[in-house]
């Protein structure tokens, strides 16, 4: 009962001033640090915390940029922590599951592993849904939104 109240239940929202520079709004800073720490633990390779942190920020920026380049199909992207490590969730435009997007998503998945080996993740895509429905797949309160509104 004496826990710190959550500022908001939605995902952590961040701005990308440049590929290298991720900006976290002040009210989300605490949650972002907590989520980043969970992500580092999920990755279990964070021997050098500063180097991992720098790689994780570049990882987030890469997902943001990739999503923007695929904005014809991608309406949003989120990075969450699951029992199996990091998960990137891409929401796609329209109602149906985009099987025709699978190869490009696999390319992104392999690219992220090659570029950011200390941030192992699995990339998934889902049809866009109301945010409440996305909670079947990941906790919005603990996810970082890297693209979309």
């Amino acid at each position: 009962m004496c826990g710190k109240p959550r500022i908001q239940e939605g995902p952590i929202r961040i701005d990308f001033r440049s590929v290298q520079h991720v900006v976290v709004t002040p009210e989300d800073q605490d949650r972002f640090v907590t989520t980043s720490r969970e992500a580092a633990m999920a990755c279990r390779r964070a021997e050098d915390e500063k180097a991992w942190d720098e790689q994780f920020h570049r990882f987030l920026a890469h997902v943001h940029e990739w999503s923007g380049k695929h904005s014809d199909l991608v309406s949003g992207s989120y990075v969450g922590v699951s029992d199996e490590g990091l998960r990137v969730f891409l929401t796609t435009r329209g109602d149906g599951y985009r099987f025709d997007f699978d190869d490009e998503v696999s390319d992104l998945d392999l690219e992220l592993d090659r570029l950011f080996p200390n941030c192992p993740c699995t990339v998934m895509h889902l049809p866009e849904s109301p945010k409440e429905a996305l909670t079947s797949f990941f906790s919005l309160a603990d996810a970082i939104q890297t693209y979309g509104r």
Partner: protein
């Protein structure tokens, strides 16, 4: 029975279960059975060299780092089975058949059967 053979038998068992699901009502479970068939095929491959995976995370990493071409077929099966289990909207049986079972699972089966076996290990069961 060696681990490789146990995983082959389990993959075949799951394949038979998949074939036994006649109703389009259970496309979500068809997708799940297809994924677990794929998982045991991958474990069968791993059993030839480094042995069991420690879980999904370990298996996924080993696949994408050592067998990226297999990962390209496995990831859609992994991802869609998770989607199908948690999504509340119905899943199309026709699309599961064409895109997952007839395409991804079949390609993965062919690709794994073409993978070289470890030296001194048999490629197929004894007849």
């Amino acid at each position: 029975m060696a681990a490789e053979e146990l995983h082959r038998a389990k993959a075949e068992h799951n394949r038979r279960f998949l074939a036994s699901i006649r109703s389009d009502e259970f496309a979500d479970w068809q997708a799940t059975a297809a994924f677990y068939c794929a998982l045991h095929l991958v474990e069968m491959l791993f059993a030839r060299s480094d042995g069991h995976s420690l879980g999904h995370r370990d298996r996924n990493l080993r696949l994408k780092r050592h067998h990226p071409q297999l990962w390209r077929h496995y990831r859609p099966l992994y991802s869609f089975s998770l989607y199908a289990r948690y999504e509340t909207r119905p899943v199309s049986a026709a699309v599961v058949r064409t895109e997952l079972i007839d395409k991804r699972l079949r390609l993965l089966e062919h690709a794994i059967s073409a993978e070289p076996t470890a030296p001194g290990k048999p490629t197929r069961r004894k007849r």
